[in-house]
């Protein structure tokens, strides 16, 4: 029996563990599948992490080390190289590693912090052959940054998510030529600063509203045919263009890895592909919490850490038997706002609600209403799908609330 088992030792898992420890629960076990703590940060050797949280610009491993050092200092137990196979609804965690074999632990509370994975090329039904030289951007990142191998010399990237942009720069610095970054949408899903310093700095063209229509090459990639797409994202035949290359990287989205959440019968959202949670990041299963990229994909690790602290603290309250009055206020959205986290409010206290929009909107007002009552109204110069937004609801606003509605008003 353990008080708290945390699945995943990345930024979310470590931050949740520290928050739980500092709030009084010491009997914590972190289960990490990799050989070190830090999760995907270990291969994100670029900088840009931690400005929000630490006020300085850190690389991925440096950011991870801030938390790892703390986890070690507090003496929180971690099992590395340990894969969790199953989590049951009554919080029995089954895991395996080389030393202990397959083992089970009954936990009082579980925090799910498994992170996300990349959408693979396979999911896209791209015509053509299946030669070597096709990787997700993250796999290429692992080859280059962790293994020290260059997967190719002439590269085309599909998808302008941040990992794709970062890898365009990394491959260039390591001696490859990146011929183009194609983006299906009319806007990039990555941060503006990354387009500037990863593409523009190296004169790499960003082709918006473009996709790969065919992959060429029998053994190794020999080229791609790209084309512009129309407003329904269908390729326009006349715009087809051939680019010779030996490598294609895909940066076409991240998917929360919720296989274990499913095994625990946790209710998932069709929009975020993560759990449906309350303000404490508690899932539909009591005592099972979810935070970080397994809950919804974040653009900044700083927010992952912050969210995980919420989950860590809440798990402590749960373990200690919190008796606060409980309510049930659903949070709905208008579609322009794609989703919110949390999706339900169960306690009347100050709540930060994170949300993402479904398109680029300029000069808009974010409105939170409860029936006829406007609880909150905030102006935004520009909102974009690639950037997570948040508003804070005060305890008073929730006093008589029945159902919260998040909407975006355009002028």
């Amino acid at each position: 029996m353990r008080d708290l088992v945390i699945i995943g030792g990345g930024p979310a898992g470590m931050s949740a563990a520290i928050a739980a420890y500092e709030n009084g629960v010491k009997d914590i076990l972190i289960l990490e599948r990799d050989e070190s703590l830090g999760g995907i940060l270990q291969q994100c050797i670029h900088n840009g992490f931690g400005l929000h949280k630490f006020g300085e610009e850190l690389t991925g491993p440096e950011y991870a080390w801030k938390y790892e050092a703390k986890v070690r200092e507090l003496g929180i137990e971690c099992k590395l190289n340990t894969m969790v196979l199953d989590v049951s609804e009554d919080k029995v965690v089954t895991a395996t590693n080389s030393e202990d074999g397959i083992f089970q632990i009954q936990a009082k509370a579980v925090i799910l912090a498994m992170g996300c994975r990349e959408r693979s090329k396979g999911a896209l039904n791209i015509a053509g052959s299946r030669p070597a030289g096709i990787y997700s951007a993250g796999t290429a990142q692992k080859f280059v940054n962790m293994k020290g191998y260059l997967p190719g010399k002439n590269v085309v990237i599909l998808g302008s998510g941040d990992i794709g942009l970062i890898m365009a720069r990394r491959m260039t610095l390591e001696g490859a030529k990146v011929h183009a970054v194609c983006e299906l949408m009319p806007y990039s899903g990555g941060l503006a600063r990354n387009i500037e310093q990863c593409l523009n700095d190296f004169n790499i063209p960003l082709k918006l509203s473009h996709t790969i229509v065919k992959i060429h090459g029998k053994q190794r990639v020999e080229g791609v045919t790209i084309a512009k797409v129309d407003e329904n994202r269908r390729p326009i035949k006349e715009t087809e263009e051939y680019i010779a290359c030996d490598t294609i990287l895909f940066s076409v989205g991240l998917i929360p890895e919720n296989e274990l959440s499913k095994s625990a019968n946790v209710e998932l959202s069709g929009i975020t592909s993560g759990a449906v949670v309350d303000q404490d990041r508690q899932t539909s299963v009591e005592g099972i919490f979810s935070c970080g990229n397994v809950l919804h994909v974040h653009d900044l690790v700083d927010y992952v850490s912050e969210e995980a602290e919420i989950a860590g603290k809440a798990a402590v309250e749960y373990i200690n038997g919190n008796k606060d009055e409980s309510v049930s206020i659903p949070v709905k959205t208008d579609g322009k706002i794609r989703y919110t986290v949390p999706q339900i409010i169960t306690k009347k206290k100050d709540v930060s609600v994170y949300f993402r929009v479904s398109n680029i909107y300029k000069n808009v007002t974010v409105k939170v209403t409860d029936g006829e009552n406007v609880l909150l109204s905030k102006k935004r110069v520009k909102v974009a799908p690639g950037e997570m937004e948040s508003v804070t609801l005060k305890k008073e606003m929730l006093e008589n609330a029945k159902e919260l509605y998040f909407s975006l008003e355009e002028k």
């Binding site: 670029h46 900088n47 440096e62 080390w65 940054n145 962790m146 293994k147 610095l173 600063r193």
Partner: protein, 114 residues
């Protein structure tokens, strides 16, 4: 002359409009914080970038590194050449200087390796 820039200092990515004449910045619009102003001036007069990469270790493995200060943007390729030649002697801790004074900056480790 008017220049449009995207600030790279933080994830906000402010779109800046800068008036420059003879390598002098006359006016900056669009920044949400003072750091944006500093960036715009630097970008117009002496653009700089932090380089992150890896250095080969004496066991054949890698350690992640960065320039501890931004270096001139037009020196990125030369900086990479220095990084590519360097060999780090293990053990290495975060902050250890691997190569000193590369275009005014040190190449430091950003990873611990035993």
């Amino acid at each position: 002359m008017e220049r449009k820039l995207t600030c790279i200092i933080c994830p906000l990515g402010c779109e800046l409009t800068v008036q420059v004449e003879d390598k002098k910045v006359l006016d900056i619009k669009g920044n949400t914080c003072p750091r944006g102003k500093v960036y715009a001036e630097s970008e117009c007069i002496n653009p700089q970038r932090t380089i992150t990469s890896t250095v080969r270790c004496n066991d054949g493995g890698l350690v992640a590194v960065k320039t501890d200060k931004p270096i001139p943007k037009d020196k990125m390729t030369e900086c990479m050449a220095v990084i590519n030649k360097a060999v780090a002697t293990l053990p290495v801790s975060i902050g250890d200087v691997i190569v000193e004074d590369v275009f005014g900056s040190n190449i430091v480790a950003t990873q611990n390796r035993k």
